[in-house]
Structure formats: C-alpha cells, structure tokens
C-alpha cells in the first residue's frame, strides 16, 4: 500500500512537469492576448478618467498623468512587438522530460531510502494500547493500566496492583504515588503504608523524608509488632544523627528477632556502623563480619563486586556440598536476586525445595521468600 501511494505521488509530481512540457507551442494557458504590462497601463489610464469624473484630480494633472502613462504604454507595446515568446529548443524540452521521468523518481526514492523508515508502520497510542495483552511488553501493560487509572482514578485496587510493579520497574516515584492513592482509597494497612514509605524512600535516594517517616510511624501504630516499618524508623534515626536513639531502636528490633530473618544481617550492619553492642546471636551468623563489611566499603566498586560474588559463591558451594538451614538457602536466593542473576536464584530455589520438600513449614517459608523475590512460580 505504501509503495502504491509513493508511486502515485511520484507519478503525479512527474506529470506536473511533463504535461506543460508536452503542450504544443501557443496552446498554453496564461498567454494573454495583450501583454500583461500593457493591461496595467490601460487600466491606469481608465483610472485617471474615473478620478477626473469624480473630481479627485483636476484636468491639468489628469493630462500630465495621461501623457506619462501613455509613454509607458507605448514602451510596453514596443517591447511586445520586438520580442515574443519562442517555442524553445527541443533539446531543453527533452532534457526536461528525462528529468521528470528518470531523475525525479530515482533521486527521490534514493534519498527517501536513506532518510525514511518505509518498513515502520504507524503506531498510534490508542491502537498500541488496544493490542491483545499477551503480545505486549511490561511497559505497554503498565501504560495501559496507567491509562485506565487516569480515567478511573477512584479504582483503588488498580493502584494497589500497579504500585509494586512500578517499584520493580525502577519507578519509585510512580510507585509512591500509586501506593498513596491505594492507601487513600482502600484504607491503610500496615503493609501498604510501609510499602508506600519504602517507595518514597527509594524515590528520595534512600533518605527517609518526613512524610515517609510519618508513613512508617502510622504502620507501627497499626501493627506495633511489624518489623519492616520499625526497621526503617531505626534507619531514619541513624540518618538524623540521633545515634543513641538509633542504637536503642536497632537493639529493640533485634531483641527477640529470629536470627535467621532476612533483614537481620542488614540491621546488624547498621548497628555495627553506629557502634552499638551486638546481640549475642550475632556471632552465630555466618554472614560477613564487621571487618569484612568495613573492608568492602573501603574497596573500589569492582573489588567490592568480586568480593561479594566470592562470598556468594562460597555460600553456594557450602550449601550444595554440606546442605544448610532454610534461612541459609533463602539468603543465597536473595543474594542471587540482588545480584540480578535470577536463573541462579531459581536454581537455588529449586535446590532448596528439593532439600526441604518433605518439611511443610520450612517449604512454606522458602516458597514465601521465593515469591517475595520474584523467583518462584508463586
């Protein structure tokens, strides 16, 4: 279709040249019987008469004007008689025809092939959004949901669905907005408010703003036992430089915590950085030691990466040869997922399932972690 239209346009353009060229001499329109400038001067003479009729000029002035215009008229008349249009050389016309038939299409097509994208269809947004979802990328799906939400901003469930997706797509700002809408429409739950605060924090480059803090505080109010908001609140205290309070918060958080919980190593790091007393179970964990962490934070980024990769590899080797606790498996899965290696993460998950397939409690824990990390088939 495109090519047919292109051919038609080119042909029309060529015709606009060919038709006038092939007309016989003298038959062309636009050749007035009287030369154009003579017409102007005759009209000027008429106008002098009219002005005289209406007494706009006096007779002597009219006479003078008439003389002057008549002189121009004569000159124009002379010119017309001396030189009239010639048929032109046949060579010129032939060259013109060749240009129209050959040069014009070749030049245009050539240039268009360089500049244009003939293979690319139009992509109107409405049509792209209406395509069946299976063929669409995540971005397209998200755009579709966002469009739906722009039209139905009261759809709280929609906001709740899109928020974590935006978060994972690296749009914490959008996620924070979506969570806020979900909270507004569906009411605050500890998880939702916490996630909102987390998104706000991510959007703010990891700094916990006053509004994010308020969200975490609300979450703690709703569920005093919730760990995640308390974790962030402790972090906030640290960021504010309230070291004593922060240490106390971390310690109360770690006090009675399951040593195998996923957040514990990070909490211990924070506590260590702040210089607080470590809880007793700290030594039992085979996570990186304080020295190791400090060494890592002083290293160049590449060295840091290789050190982390080495530690992860060590853990993986140990688990595959000696086996380990469910928490250790989960830590490995998490490590891979943080490093962005989801296939290895999935392998670790499958090994963990093999190892603990007969123990429902542990399996459930592993499955939950896999779900959270986006590794398993939920």
């Amino acid at each position: 279709m495109l090519w047919i239209l292109i051919a038609a346009m080119t042909a029309a353009a060529a015709l606009s040249i060919l038709l006038p060229l092939s007309r016989r001499h003298g038959a062309g329109e636009g050749v007035p019987k009287v030369a154009a400038d003579e017409a102007v001067y005759r009209e000027q003479l008429d106008e002098v008469e009219r002005d005289l009729d209406r007494c706009l000029i006096d007779p002597p002035a009219a006479e003078a004007a008439r003389t002057e215009i008549a002189r121009r008229l004569l000159a124009a008349n002379e010119r017309r008689k001396s030189g009239s249009g010639k048929p032109g050389s046949p060579i010129g016309v032939r060259v013109g025809k060749v240009i129209a038939i050959v040069a014009l299409p070749v030049f245009t097509l050539g240039l268009y092939m360089v500049l244009g994208s003939p293979g690319m269809p139009d992509q109107p947004l409405a049509a792209r959004l209406a395509e069946p979802p299976d063929g669409q990328s995540v971005e397209e799906l998200v755009a579709r949901v966002e469009r739906h939400l722009a039209q139905n901003p009261q759809d709280g469930q929609g906001w709740a669905v899109i928020a974590p997706v935006l978060m994972r797509m690296g749009d914490p700002q959008g996620a924070a907005r979506a969570y806020a809408n979900a909270v507004r429409l569906l009411g605050p739950t500890p998880e939702r408010v916490t996630d909102m605060g987390e998104a706000m924090t991510m959007a703010n480059d990891g700094i916990i703003s006053a509004s994010a803090r308020a969200a975490f505080e609300q979450a703690v109010e709703l569920d005093p036992a919730a760990v995640k908001p308390r974790f962030f609140l402790a972090l906030a205290l640290g960021q504010e430089g309230r070291t004593e309070d922060a240490i106390a918060a971390w310690q109360s958080l770690l006090d009675g915590a399951n040593p195998d919980a996923l957040w514990v190593p990070a909490a211990l790091d924070e506590l260590a950085k702040l210089g607080g007393d470590m809880p007793e179970f700290a030594d039992q964990l085979s996570g990186p030691t304080q020295e190791q962490v400090e060494a890592a934070s002083n290293m160049a980024p590449e060295d840091q990466a290789s050190m982390i990769a080495g530690m992860v590899q060590g853990l993986a080797d140990r688990l595959s040869s000696e086996g380990g606790s469910p928490d250790e498996w989960i830590r490995l899965m998490r490590a891979y997922s943080v490093l962005g290696d989801s296939s290895k993460g999935r392998q670790a998950y499958e090994s963990a399932v093999l190892a603990y397939g007969d123990q429902p409690a542990d399996l459930a824990k592993i499955n939950a972690a896999a779900r959270e990390l986006g590794l398993g088939e939920s």
Binding site: I6, I17, P32, V34, A36, A39, V40, Y41, A61, G92
Partner: protein, 665 residues
C-alpha cells in the same frame, strides 16, 4: 504508513524544488515558453505535497504516535486536543514545516492567480521561490527532520513547553509566519526582476497585493504576540524590545516602508531601485529573525533548537540568500532605468520622507538587537540593550514621521502645495490642539510629554478622517452627494485612511497607558484593599487549584467601585508539573477600553502575597489600532484596480460590483 507518506512527500518536494529552481529560470532567460510553463503546475504540486506532509505530522500528533521522535519529544497523550494540534508547530521541526508550507503556499498562489503576469516574470519568480524552498527543505531533511522515527516507541511523550500551552501562542506563530514568509514572494519578485533586468510601474502593481497580504498578517501576528506577552509574562508591559520581538518588528518596519515606496513606483515609475532593495531587505530581515530565533543565539521561549549544526546551517542559508541577492542587485540595478521626476514637496516626497524615517527606525532596532550579540561574540562581554536605548533612538524617529502621516495622502503627486494641504487639515489640527489642552487641564503640568502625545495621536486619527472627508468635498457639495462619492472612493484610499487611523489609535493607547497608568506594587494580606485609580481592589485570599497538567495558586481579588462589585479577578501562579516549570497568569478585567491588571509575585509565609496591580487607561487601543491597520490592508487588497487583466466577465464601469475584475482590453 501515514507518517512515512508524509516523509516521502517532503523528500519529493525537495526534488521538485531543485527542478523548479533551475528549469523555469533557465526558460525565462531563454524565453522558452514550454520550460517556463512548468513553474505554475510544479508550484501547486509542491504545495499539495507539503500540505500532505503537514497533515501526516498532525495526524501523528493527534494519534500520539510516539514512534515519531518529534511527537515523543513535544507531545503527551494527556494533552488537550487543541494543544496536540498546536504542538505540531510548537517546536523547531514542526514550525519549520509550517514555514515551508507557507513558503510553497505563496508560490502556489502566484502560480494559480498569476495568469496576468508576464510569463518570464512569473516563471523566474516561482524559480526564485523554489531556491528559498529548496534551502529550507534541505535544512529540514539534513538537520531537523520532523519524521525521524524511534525503533522502540516509548509509551509516553515529554509534553510541550508549558509557556506554549496557551491559546494565544497557538494562533500567533501561524499569523506571524504568514507575514514573515509572505515577504518571501516579494523577495522572489524582486530577484526575478533583477534576473530579467526589467522593472517598471507594472511590477509594483503586481507585487502590491502580496506585500499587503504579508504585511496584514505580520501586523496581526506581532499584535497578538504582544498581547500574549502582556497577559502571560505578568510584568504588565506589552512590548519589551526583546530581540525576538525585534526580529519580527524589523521586517514589519521595512515592509511598511516597501509598501509606501511601491506606491510611488506604481504611480510614477520612480523609486524603482529603492523598492527592489527594500523587498530584498524585508525578506532578509525575516530570515535574520528566523536565524536569531532558531539558532539558539538568543535564549527565549522560542529557542526550540539549541544545536550548533542547525545554527550554522541557517547562517549559511542566510548568507547565501542575502549575499546572493545583494550581489545580484549590485550587478543589475544600474541597468534599471530611472523613472518620473518629482518635487520634494509632493506625495512622492512625503513617501520618501516616510521611507527615510522607517528605514532609520529599522536600522536603530537592528543595531539595538545585534550590538549586544556582536559584543558578546567579540569580547565576551554581556550587555543588554533595553527600552532606554530604543526610547532614545526609535521614539524620536517616530515623532516627525507621525506628524507627517496626515500630509502624505493629501499632498498632490509630482508637485504638491503644502499650504493647500495644511488648509485641508485645519480641523484635524484644531482637534489635536483641543485634546492636548484638555489633557493638560485634566492632568496638570507634571507630565508634559503625555498631552503632546495625545495631541499627536489625535492629529493622526483626525488627519486620516480629514483625508477622506476633504477628498469627497462634503462641505461643498452637501452630504447626499458626498456620501455617494464616499462610496465611489477607491479601496486603496479607504485602506490608507483606515490604516493611518489605526496608527493613531495605537499611539493613543501607548501614550495613555504608559503616562497615566496607576501602578501599585505591594504585599497584600487577605482582606487588604488597595485603591487603583478609584477602583478598590480587595485581596480575598489565595487558594490552591489544579488543572490537567499543572498545579496553581490562585489569588482571588474583588474589584469594587463605590462599594459595588464590578469584577472578580483570579490571577495565578502555575507550576507545570511534567517539566517543573512555573508561569504566571495575570488577572485582567477590561472596562470598555481600559484594563485593571493584577499579577502575583512571591507568596509570603503568613498568607499574604506580593501583588502588582495596575490601572491601564485605554490600553486596549494599542491592539485595536493594529486591527484597524490590518483592516486597512484588507481594504487595499480588495481594491479591484489591482486585479488587472484577470479573465473577466464584462462589467467595467460598475463600481458597486466589487467582485468583477477590470477587463484587460
């Protein structure tokens, strides 16, 4: 596919411009009828192709096709429909396409209506128009192609510059462009005449409708831009001598001069060389304006493109066109025969006077615009040439010019009688003195210049009416016959009078609104009232609000006169969220011809806010005057004496039938 069709059409146009640039011009020189004959059909084909391109791009905007880079960069799916359309030319690439569209549109008009032109002149003119078009289409294809595609189309666009999301700016560029670009056709006529080595009174008549058309649109475009700056920038001013404004004002001044010198050329076969030069200058100034605005040399709202490659390209185009045409002028102009002679005190003399002052004013504006740029380029020193410079240079030039305006149309051709002309202007002079005295009496002696300014404005307005009245000699022949004669006056006489009247109206608006405006700059807390020229302006409070793509703080004000509420004003400060871009929206209430203008400054902590409040007496006259000027151009264009030799039904002496063109006999 539609997008690609548009792209192909543009490429095809380029190929046609190359042919158009060479074949008809060669034909015109060799007087080969068949080669000349291709000019008109090709000019129309080019117009249709560029129109197709433009429609294709508009479609891409309407459909939010973000696979087109230009759409992605400048549009947003949530944008209101009107701004999706105006967004087409609200950016560098799209506005160039509009530029080219108008360029080929004027070419097609000449091709279509140019049957009365001599074939060589028409062919050469269209050929030269083809050169200009070729240059600009090449510029687009090489550096600013609006049809570039993105392989993986994003799902959302970047939105349009919020300042451009305004109805005023939606209409202003096309008007301005028709003006700017319209002067291209007079340029082409001038260059064609130079190529053919023949120029005479008939040439001036042929060119005149095109000049009038371009001038009319440029007047409207500038006026609209000025009103936009007035309500959108929030400073209460309506003209800032900003380089971008100057860029459009210079072609206007030069175009106005050309309009007047072309009259002399048409009537008396004189000033030919000068008129041709003005035609070249006017379009050169349009090109210069485009260069200044587009190259990023000037930072402004309009500087869509800050890309050195583009700047250099336009500069090369500029040098090629201006340098080329001036060289041609230097080479051919001595061949042109000088025409009729005239005494200094005559209609011709008055028009030369007009030309001298308008040209001097153009140069003043040009210097004021370019000097800071040149200084910056050479020494790196940044200065800004502001209103004081222009008030000292441009202002004094305008005063003698305006004083002379009523004389122009009244003086006789060839040899005029100043005394007789003055007698016909007694009434106008009397009125001017009367108004000056009344203004003195009302405002006292503390503003000496203002009453004189009012007098000058009245002089120009009354003078233009006097021209019509004395021309039909109402006093001598009675009202009945006078009225009949009034109807018989040629359109150009009405055009002159209307346009000159408009100048007076604009001057009156400028003088009164600057001299007698009441300006209050203060901090207002909710409940505060301030008196502005007898109007009590109460600040009721500040309230946040939100629009489709912005949030704003709206100030609520009530205007009372003698305790009676006459208006509520809602000036606001907006923040366009997508680009984090703040704008101000002034609150304006129009009282007949005057306006109360309120704009917001920074809010304070305690709920109070900085406010600029103005009472601007008669300010709307500034823009109403420009409407009169444009209307004058329309009257002149409608003058059927311009349509000489067009194919016709025989209806010669019938003046009332304006549609019937005069026969060519």
């Amino acid at each position: 596919m539609i997008v690609e069709i548009g792209h192909y059409a543009l490429v095809l146009t380029f190929a046609l411009t190359l042919i158009q640039s060479v074949v008809p011009v060669y034909g015109a020189i060799k007087e080969d009828e068949r080669l000349m004959a291709i000019a008109s059909p090709v000019s129309m084909a080019m117009f249709l192709l560029v129109l197709l391109s433009f429609i294709a791009l508009t479609y891409a905007y309407l459909a939010s096709d973000f696979s087109v880079q230009n759409v992605w960069e400048n549009s947003h799916s949530a944008k209101p429909l009107i701004y999706k359309i105006t967004g087409v030319w609200g950016n560098h690439e799209g506005s160039l396409l509009l530029w080219v569209l108008i360029l080929v549109f004027f070419g097609a008009l000449v091709g279509f209506f140019g049957a009365n032109l001599p074939a060589p002149l028409r062919a050469a003119t269209l050929g030269v128009q083809g050169w200009v078009t070729a240059g600009f289409v090449l510029f687009m294809l090489a550096t600013s192609n609006p049809f570039n595609r993105i392989p993986n189309a994003p799902m959302e666009g970047n939105d349009l510059n919020p300042l451009l999301q305004d109805i005023g700016l939606a209409i202003h560029p096309p008007l301005l462009y028709i003006g700017y670009v319209g002067f291209s056709i007079t340029f082409s006529f001038a260059v064609a005449a130079l190529i053919l080595g023949r120029i005479d009174a008939a040439w001036a008549r042929w060119v005149r409708p095109w000049t009038l058309l371009a001038w009319c649109f440029l007047t409207l475009g500038i006026s609209m831009g000025s009103y936009w700056a007035y309500y959108e920038l929030g400073w209460g001013g309506w003209w800032f001598w900003d380089p971008v404004e100057n860029a459009s004002f210079m072609p206007w001044l030069a175009g106005t001069a050309m309009l007047h010198s072309a009259i002399v050329m048409e009537k008396r076969d004189a000033l030919k060389v000068w008129t041709v030069l003005l035609a070249i200058f006017t379009f050169s100034l349009s090109l210069l304006g485009t260069f200044l605005v587009r190259s990023g040399v000037l930072t402004s709202v309009h500087a869509f493109a800050v890309d050195p490659a583009r700047g250099v390209f336009i500069l090369v185009l500029l040098c090629l066109f201006i340098g080329g045409s001036l060289s041609l002028y230097a080479w051919r102009a001595p061949l042109l025969k000088q025409g009729g002679l005239f005494a200094p005190m005559s209609r011709e003399g008055a028009l030369v006077f007009n030309n001298l002052f308008l040209t001097a004013a153009t140069v003043a504006v040009l210097v004021g615009t370019l000097y800071p740029l040149a200084l910056d380029a050479v020494t790196g020193e940044k200065i800004s040439v502001g209103p004081p410079f222009f008030n000292l240079t441009f202002g004094p030039l305008m005063i003698p010019l305006l004083m002379a305006v009523p004389y122009g149309p009244i003086l006789a051709w060839k040899r005029g009688d100043l005394l007789a002309a003055t007698q016909r202007l007694y009434a106008a002079f009397g009125l001017a003195i009367l108004f000056t005295l009344v203004t003195f009496w009302m405002w006292g002696m503390d503003r000496v210049l203002a009453p004189l300014g009012v007098g000058l404005a009245v002089w120009v307005m009354a003078g233009s009416i006097a021209e019509i009245v004395t021309r039909v000699k109402v006093a001598e022949i009675g009202f009945g016959r006078g009225f009949a004669r009034l109807k018989g006056l040629p359109g150009s006489a009405w055009g002159t009078a209307t346009a000159h009247f408009g100048i007076g109206v604009t001057v009156l608006g400028i003088v009164t609104s600057t001299a007698f405006q009441d300006e209050k700059v203060l901090t207002m807390a909710p409940g505060d009232t301030v008196d502005v020229s007898g109007y009590a302006l109460t600040f009721d409070g500040l309230a946040p609000s939100r629009g489709a793509n912005y949030v704003e703080d709206v100030g609520h004000f009530t205007v009372r006169k003698g305790g009676v509420v006459i208006a509520e004003l809602e000036p606001s400060k907006r923040l366009y969220t997508a680009r984090q871009f703040p704008t101000t929206e002034a609150g304006i209430h129009t009282l007949v011809l005057s306006q109360i203008y309120v704009s917001l400054g920074e809010p304070r902590d305690n709920g109070s806010i900085d406010v600029r409040a103005y009472y601007k007496p008669l300010i709307t006259l500034i823009w109403i005057g420009t409407l009169f000027m444009a209307l004058g151009a329309v009257f002149s264009m409608a003058d059927r004496r311009l349509r000489v030799g067009a194919p016709k039904p025989a209806a010669r002496r019938d003046r009332t039938d304006g549609a019937a063109p005069a026969p060519a006999e």
